[in-house]
């Protein structure tokens, strides 16, 4: 009974780590933003599993609706691809 939320949290954190590595290694900046948004979904579910409903409502609107859009505006005003690095 105690281990079921802990198992879910471990699974969600592993998914977040995989998508973080993919986001940092990617050279196309639009794909990096989408990978970071998938990682935000995993964290939003983690907030629900850890029983914090107030934070879940704020984090869904902010992490999925504001961060990717503002960074996409910045990419469209500047360059899309990253040079060597």
């Amino acid at each position: 009974m105690i281990i079921y939320p802990l198992l879910l949290t471990a699974y969600l954190f592993t998914i977040a780590l995989v998508f973080t590595i993919l986001a940092i290694k990617e050279k196309d900046l639009i794909k990096a933003v989408i990978y970071s948004a998938v990682q935000s979904v995993a964290y939003a579910i983690a907030f629900g599993v850890l029983l914090a409903p107030d934070i879940l409502l704020v984090y869904l609107a902010v992490g999925l609706g504001i961060y990717p859009v503002i960074i996409l505006y910045a990419i469209s005003r500047t360059r899309r691809f990253e040079k060597h690095g």
């Binding site: 281990i3 802990l6 471990a10 907030f47 029983l51 914090a52």
Partner: protein, 133 residues
């Protein structure tokens, strides 16, 4: 016994995410990549705080009393089985402050592009010294 190993695994994953986000901030030269890594760092720190505020019993409850006229037994039950509410209040303000800071940084990044026509950090340093790219 197995809960102990699961908890250590969760800490290891969260700290690995933090260190990869820090690597992205320090070493990658593109400014927008640094901003993306900064959002990842802030969000992971917030989730780690909420994980520390969990109560490790069989059926925990969220910190909301479900009725407006509770009896004595409902109050005692609520007091014994709800999770910690104090870190949740602090994390809500932290999330909103992070949004304001990141929005300001994005405006600054567009302004840098308008002046130097490039977004890579090494090229900006060379242009400031007066050499060609």
């Amino acid at each position: 016994m197995i809960e102990y190993y699961l908890i250590i695994y969760i800490y290891a994953m969260a700290l690995a995410t933090i260190s990869i986000a820090l690597y992205g901030i320090i070493i990658k030269p593109n400014i927008i990549k640094k901003i993306i890594a900064l959002t990842i760092l802030g969000d992971t720190a917030n989730v780690l705080i909420i994980f520390l505020a969990y109560r490790l019993i069989s059926f925990p409850k969220p910190p909301i009393l479900p009725s407006l006229k509770p009896s004595r037994e409902e109050l005692v039950e609520f007091m014994k089985s709800s999770v910690d509410p104090l870190p949740q209040a602090l994390v809500i303000t932290a999330i909103v402050i992070n949004v304001a800071v990141i929005a300001f940084l994005v405006f600054l990044a567009i302004q840098v592009f308008r002046q130097y026509h490039t977004l890579e950090y090494n090229e900006i340093i060379k242009l400031k010294r007066g050499e060609q790219v």
